[in-house]
């Protein structure tokens, strides 16, 4: 159980079973589907979740995003960390060490 686990550089975030990214062709957009929830994802959210593959550590995810988007690492770490933290609070993302 990842109760209030912090998203640190070392942990590996993953989408637990029952949570998945889904492309809706009718709305021409991406949704994160979970029990009783469908969250519309913008391009940044999709990029973060695509980097969350269950093997990359959060540090590696930040490296990848910073490089892909040519953005400052600290900024990416803060934004992606908050994004994943919010999803973890809703049990839509979990972390393993």
């Amino acid at each position: 159980m990842s109760v209030a686990a912090a998203i640190t550089e070392e942990v590996t975030p993953y989408l637990p079973r029952g949570v998945r990214l889904h492309h809706c062709s009718v709305r021409a957009g991406w949704f994160l589907l979970a029990p009783e929830r469908a969250l519309k994802m913008d391009a940044i959210g999709v990029a973060i979740l695509n980097a969350v593959d269950g093997t990359r550590s959060f540090g590696a995810i930040v490296d990848k995003l910073a490089s892909d988007f040519k953005a400052p690492r600290e900024r990416v770490a803060a934004d992606a960390g908050k994004f994943l933290r919010d999803l973890a609070d809703r049990r839509m993302v979990e972390v393993k060490s």
Binding site: S2, A5, G18, H22, P35, E36
Partner: protein, 360 residues
Amino acid sequence: MNGVPIPMALLAELTHRCPLKCPYCSNPLELTRRSNELSTAAWIDVFQQAAAMGVLHVHLSGGEPASRRDLEDLTEGARAAGLYTNLITSGVGLTRDRLKALADRGLDHVQLSVQGVDAETADRIGGFKGGFETKMRLAGWVAEEGLPLTVNAVMHRQNLDRLDETIGMAVRRGARRLEVANTQYHGWAYRNRFALMPTPDQVRRGGRIVAEARERLKGEMVIDYVTPDHLGTYPKPCMGGWARIGLCITPRGAVLPCHAAETITTLSFENVADRPLADIWANGPAFTAYRGTDWMPDPCRSCERKTRDWGGCRCQAFAWTGDAGQTDPVCSKSDRHADVRAAAVAEAQAGADAFDYRTF
């Protein structure tokens, strides 16, 4: 077509058959028999139509959906159509093997109803001996399969004082979500309102317990809480607005804007056998009747909350006024508000504990 919203969720009531007899069952008083249920192929066609309309979630419900022997095929068909599949079950009728088959064929999530926190209470409320034990066993299997579990606890006067224990039980069973659903007083629940209506004190205490637990369990378990609107100031945005977000299909294929809509006897409902689902959703008279805000009378029409609560519940308006186009009487702006509240308080004080169980 312009102005027609894209639906998010489909409640598929696969059957009305159920081993339990819960006195607040959301099925209608007049239940559909097995011989009139839609076929496997008809349901799978419905799932494909729904997905093409933009529906994201399908809730496979009942009755008890496991009463259908083709539940595994239906689950696979729904998932193949591209839908997120949620099984809403009492847990009775599912074996270890059936649950595994459902998981293997694409089931995304299990929502398990509980009637109480111990066998004696739960089995009396559900009218089914051994039900509690069966449910707890299923919760264990769901965890073994790694499927997410939501516990749905319908609350009323006879179990609301044990809300704390209910939350504790859901945590121990590994639920990711808990729905604390106060009984909605339509159909069977309305018939049993003297045995079910909570006191205002119980409701206030329940709200505090949920608020505290949400904070304490952040990141561990999500708690959804539906306030009993009889004792509120404003109505709930029933169904997120009539014909705006979701739709329901009954075991025989009638398409409803809300699962209780058949209580509105002035409306008629079309069937998936007669017309494409998208057409029923967009143009069906039951859907267009109260979609949006144009139908609203005052005080709704001039209310600043009209696109927040969407006028509340049409079924309740019909039950109290005989006109589903009236303001929801639970709203403090309705001239029937005092009557509704007084009735709820009187029902709560009635002290009658015996149930008139749901039966065919």
